[in-house]
Amino acid sequence: MNPLVTPELGLVVWTTVAFALLFFILAKFAWKPIMGAITERERSIEDALLKAEAAKEEMSRLTNENESLIKQARAERDLILSEARKVKESIISEAKETAHKEGARMIELARVEINNQKAIALADVKNQVATLSLEIAEKILRKQFEDQAKQDELVSQLLKEVKL
């Protein structure tokens, strides 16, 4: 048999021993820590990536939320503004109406007052005229009846007129 394909006992034994030794030492002191460290690092990297992804999602969620909030706020603002405008308009129109009514009422009152005052004033004037007339009449009468003769004449005249 060709020596190349004849396994020698010595080399078989030494290879078995050496490989077994190498396997156990490397398995315990090299492969275990190395594979452990690689797996651990991969896990941490994956974890970090997942976290980053989650953060990104959270971020986009927040952005969306913000946008919707802004939109909502904008709509609300518009609503409030339009309402305010309406209120303003109604207030203004109301005020105008009120003012109008009040004005009319006051004018009416003023008219009534004026009329009253006019009546009072007229009454006053009438009184004054009456008083004056009476005073004048009195003065005239006084003047006329200053002397006794005249008074007597009148009395006699009056008496004459009385027909019994």
């Binding site: 190349l4 020698e8 290879t15 490989f19 190498l22 690092r41």
Partner: protein, 360 residues
């Protein structure tokens, strides 16, 4: 367990490993000088002939010496388990097969780089002796070197992971992490499924063990160049591991598919059993042959191209040879990674089919 002090002195450790290697080298070199001085005639005579087959076979098969260059070689420890007891000595005693070593129990000779128990000086084999060669050969030394490299690299990377928990990878860690992730995401996960984590240590060890040894095999100078993953014994052990892991983890669907296939008529079952049982062994067998053949073929081609220079005995052929060798080496670099990938991928695939829950 804290490896930091070890890792801090990584360079020192490497230095020690290399200096131990070079210690043996210097001793051997001295020994060879003596020998060359004694026998100059035989050397010149042998230089005339060049046998590429012999050279190539010598390079791709295992050896009791770790050749460095020229006649320089590092002797390796010989460990023999005989029926009488254990024998341990350095391979330098054989002086490249020239001498017979008188051991404690038997006399030994190195015949075609194999240690045999012999009766006397004539190198006839001692039939009564039962000798099992458990020596640290070139391939074993190379494998130990690869183990040292793998342990230094991955224990240091593991400590970096502990130190820099949760941080981005750095340095060697960032070079190896994509490969580890490749094994996990492209080999283990798609083939095994969610239960992949249990088999990751095995797949990673197999992948890097094959890869580093393929790469060491491509290094043309000492301490590389050994044909470890192109050795049938090594690929056999690796594929037996695959066989065991696959079948020990096989769930009831896997075994039911083999022994009580509901879609197959009962009279066909015996034939089915034969085919399926053959399949159990043929799959790892294919793994064994694939890795062995690919790596060995690569080594043979590179060595054959280099041998061309010596076959033609001309320097003019060298540029052509070197150009082809560079091309082949680049290709082999791809094959080194590809074979490590395929072996791991198929192991994962077999495990996947054995533990698959849903069956059809």
């Amino acid at each position: 367990m804290d490896f930091r002090p070890v890792l801090n002195s990584k360079k020192i450790t490497l230095g020690i490993v290399l200096s131990v290697f070079s210690l043996f080298v210097s001793v051997k070199a001295f020994a060879f000088q003596e020998k060359n001085a004694a026998e100059p005639a035989t050397e010149t005579k042998e230089e005339g002939k060049f046998d590429p087959t012999e050279t190539i076979m010598e390079h791709i098969s295992d050896s009791h010496y770790f050749h460095i260059g020229g006649k320089l070689a590092m002797p390796l420890p010989v460990i023999l388990y005989t029926d009488k007891g254990l024998e341990v000595f350095m391979s330098s005693v054989f002086e490249e097969g020239e001498k017979i070593h008188e051991g404690k129990y038997y006399k030994y000779a190195l015949i075609h780089d194999k240690i045999k128990a012999v009766t006397g000086e004539d190198k006839t084999e001692d039939a009564t002796a039962k000798v099992y060669d458990l020596s640290i050969t070139k391939n074993v030394a190379s494998m130990l070197l690869s183990m040292v490299i793998l342990l230094l690299v991955f224990l240091s990377v593991a400590s970096t992971y502990k130190k820099r928990a949760g941080k981005a990878p750095k340095g060697l860690q960032s070079f190896l992490e994509p490969i580890i992730l490749f094994v996990r995401d492209d080999i283990a996960l798609p083939n095994i499924g969610y239960k992949y984590a249990r088999f990751m240590p095995l797949l990673l060890t197999v992948f890097f063990f094959i890869l580093i040894n393929n790469l060491i095999g491509l290094v043309p100078f000492f301490p590389g160049g050994s044909n470890l993953t192109g050795n049938i014994a090594v690929t056999m052990v690796l594929s037996v591991i695959t066989l065991l892991v696959v079948n020990l983890n096989g769930n009831k669907h896997y075994w039911a598919h083999i022994f009580v296939p509901s879609t197959v008529p009962v009279w066909l079952w015996p034939l089915w059993w034969v085919v399926e049982l053959l399949g159990i062994f043929s799959k790892p067998f294919a793994l064994m042959i694939r890795l062995f053949a690919n790596i060995t073929a690569g080594h043979i081609i590179v060595l054959a191209l280099i041998s061309l220079i010596f076959v033609f005995k001309s320097v003019a052929i060298a540029p052509v040879s070197v150009a082809f060798v560079v091309f082949m080496d680049v290709l082999e670099l791809l094959v080194a990674m590809l074979q490590a990938f395929i072996f791991t991928l198929l192991t994962a695939l077999f495990i996947g089919t054995a533990i698959e829950e849903h069956h059809h």
